[in-house]
Amino acid sequence: MYSDKVLDHYANPRNVGALDKSDPSVGTGMVGAPECGDVMKLQIKVSGDSEVIVDAKFKTFGCGSAIASSSLATEWLKGRTIDEALEIRNTDIVNELSLPPVKIHCSVLAEDAIKAAIEDYRKKRSGRNDGG
C-alpha cells in the first residue's frame, strides 16, 4: 500500500521542527485545513545575498503520504536558491515517492507549502525594503 520511500520518510522524517517565525530571513508557509485532514507547515531560512535556502523545517498533520511529501520537500529545498525551489513540481514528489492517485493531493499541498513559504519570505523582504 505504501512505497518504501513513504514508509522511510514516515518512520524517519527529515527536518522536523520549527524556525523562528519572526526572523526576517525565515519564510513560513502553512497550507491545508484541519477539517480537510491535512495541514502542512513548511519553513525556510534564506541567506540574504545568495537567496540560497540554508535550512528548512516542517510539521505536518496528515496521512503518511502527506508527512512523507513535506519531509521530502524540506530535503530538496536545502541548498537550492529560491528560484530553483520554485521549480519543484508536485509531480516530482509523486514520482519520487511513488504516490498512488488518491494521494496526489498530498504532493500538491507540499508544492503549495513551498510556494507559500517563499511568498512569505519575499513579503518580509520587500516589506523591509519598502520601510527602509
Partner: protein, 404 residues
C-alpha cells in the same frame, strides 16, 4: 503474544474453532441439499438446518419458523426494508430511520426514495442516541416502517430499542432493527422489545462469512414481505436460493456458544475495554471518547486523538489492526458520517480510531495496544503543527485556514 494484534472485531471476527468443527462434515460427507425431499442426503441437511434455525431463534427470543436464512445482514436489511415497502405499499409509503444507521439500511432507503417512498432520517443527540420525542413526532398515517439499529458499528452506542419498539407497537408501525453488532454481546429479545423484523450476521459473532438471517415475526402481528429474489421459493417463499448448509450450521453453533458464554465474555471484554480507555485518557491529553459510554457495547471504544490524523496513526500502529473514521481511510474520502451526526467536527473525525475487542483478545494484547497508541500519538504530535499551535495557546477554530 502473536502479532499483528486484531482489534477490529466490528469489521469481522475470527471464526471460533468450535464453529468450524461443526461445519466441516457439511462440506464433505453430509453435503446434501436441504431442499431435497426424497433421500437421506437431503433429510440430513434439512435436519442440520432446522437445528441451527432453533439455535439462532433461541438466542433472540424468537421461534424457529420466524428465522429466514440469508447471505448476511446487508441482504437481510434489503429484504426487510424493500420487502415491507413493497408489501405494504397500499397502507403507506413513509419510512423512518436514523442518520447513523449502517449503509445497508441508509442506501436501501435512498433507493426506495427514488421509487416514490418518503424517508425521514432522524438526527441523533450528542451521545449518539435517538431522540424518542423526535421519533414520535415523525410518525404519520402513512408510516409503514421504523428501522433503528440495536448498536452502532462505529461507536457501539446502543439505541433505546425497547422504547422504540413500544412506540412502534402503539402506533401500529412495523419495527425493523439491525442487530448485527449487538447479537452475542448484549441480550437481544424480539418479544421484550416488540421487534417485528431483525437482521443478523454470522461473521460478526465468530461464525462464517456469507451467512445471516432475518427474523420475521409470525404472530401479533404476522409480518409479510415481498420476496426480493425469485426462484425456488425457499425459506417460506421469502428468500429463494439453495441454503448454505455448512454456513447455517456454523451460524447456529456460533449462536449456541454465545448463548452459553455471552454473560462472562461481555463482562471480561468490558473490563479490558475500560482499562484501554482509562489508560489512554490518563496518559494522553486532548483525547475524547465518541458516543455514550453508558449505552454502549462492551467491546467497543471509539476515540479521537486531537491533532493526529487517523491514517497516519494507523500507519504507526502497523502491528495492530484497528480502523479509523478519517477520510483518508474511507472509500468516499469523507470523514465518518456517524461521527458527523453526533456533532463531532471534521477536524476531530479525522483523528478517530475504532477499537473492537473480541473473544480471542487477551489482557496482554490490550495493554500492548494501549502502550503503542500512546507511543505513536506522542510521536506524531511532535510532527503536528496543530499540536504546536494548540500548546502555544492558539485557538485553532479561529485560524483562517488556506483551504484548497
Amino acid at each position: 503474544m502473536k502479532k499483528p494484534i486484531y482489534l477490529d472485531n466490528h469489521a469481522t471476527t475470527p471464526m471460533d474453532p468450535r464453529v468450524l468443527e461443526a461445519m466441516l462434515p457439511y462440506y464433505t460427507e453430509k453435503f446434501g441439499n436441504a431442499a431435497s425431499r426424497n433421500h437421506s442426503f437431503g433429510w440430513q441437511a434439512e435436519e442440520a438446518v432446522e437445528k441451527a434455525r432453533k439455535q439462532v431463534a433461541d438466542l433472540v427470543g424468537a421461534t424457529a419458523k420466524e428465522i429466514v436464512f440469508t447471505s448476511g445482514a446487508t441482504e437481510s436489511d434489503n429484504l426487510a426494508i424493500k420487502g415491507v415497502a413493497e408489501m405494504y405499499a397500499e397502507k403507506g409509503d413513509h419510512i423512518i430511520t436514523v442518520a447513523t444507521e449502517h449503509k445497508a439500511v441508509l442506501d436501501t432507503c435512498r433507493r426506495l426514495e427514488k421509487h416514490g417512498c418518503r424517508v425521514t432520517y432522524l438526527p441523533v443527540k450528542r451521545e449518539g442516541l435517538v431522540d424518542l420525542d423526535r421519533l414520535r413526532e415523525a410518525i404519520t398515517e402513512r408510516t409503514i416502517l421504523i428501522s433503528v439499529m440495536q448498536a452502532n458499528n462505529e461507536i457501539g452506542v446502543i439505541q433505546p430499542i425497547a422504547e422504540i419498539g413500544a412506540i412502534a407497537r402503539e402506533r401500529g408501525v412495523l419495527f425493523h432493527s439491525d442487530a448485527t453488532q449487538a447479537i452475542g454481546k448484549v441480550a437481544v429479545d424480539v418479544i421484550r422489545d416488540n421487534i417485528d423484523l431483525m437482521s443478523l450476521s454470522a461473521h460478526k459473532m465468530y461464525g462464517p462469512k456469507g451467512t445471516g438471517a432475518l427474523y420475521v415475526r409470525r404472530r401479533n402481528p404476522r409480518v409479510q414481505l415481498t420476496a426480493q429474489m425469485d426462484g425456488g421459493g425457499h425459506e417460506r417463499g421469502m428468500r429463494s436460493g439453495t441454503l448454505n448448509v455448512p454456513g447455517i450450521v456454523g451460524f447456529g453453533e456460533a449462536c449456541a456458544i454465545c448463548q452459553r458464554e455471552m454473560a462472562g465474555e461481555s463482562a471480561r471484554l468490558a473490563g479490558l475495554r475500560d482499562r484501554l480507555k482509562d489508560r489512554l485518557l490518563a496518559e494522553l491529553d486532548d483525547v475524547y471518547v465518541n458516543g455514550s459510554m453508558g449505552h454502549r457495547l462492551p467491546n467497543n471504544l471509539n476515540m479521537s486523538f486531537a491533532f493526529v490524523e487517523g491514517e497516519s496513526l494507523l500507519m504507526g500502529l502497523n502491528d495492530v489492526a484497528v480502523s479509523s473514521g478519517s477520510a483518508c481511510t474511507s472509500a468516499t474520502l469523507e470523514p465518518s458520517y456517524v461521527l458527523k451526526a453526533l456533532g463531532v467536527g471534521d477536524e476531530l473525525a479525522h483523528t478517530s480510531i475504532r477499537f473492537g475487542l473480541g473473544r480471542f483478545n487477551t489482557a496482554e494484547e490490550v495493554n500492548y495496544v494501549a502502550g503503542r497508541v500512546v507511543e505513536v500519538v506522542t510521536r506524531l504530535r511532535e510532527l503536528s503543527p496543530l499540536y504546536e499551535m494548540a500548546k502555544e495557546g492558539v485557538d485553532l477554530k479561529k485560524v483562517q485556514w488556506a483551504k484548497e
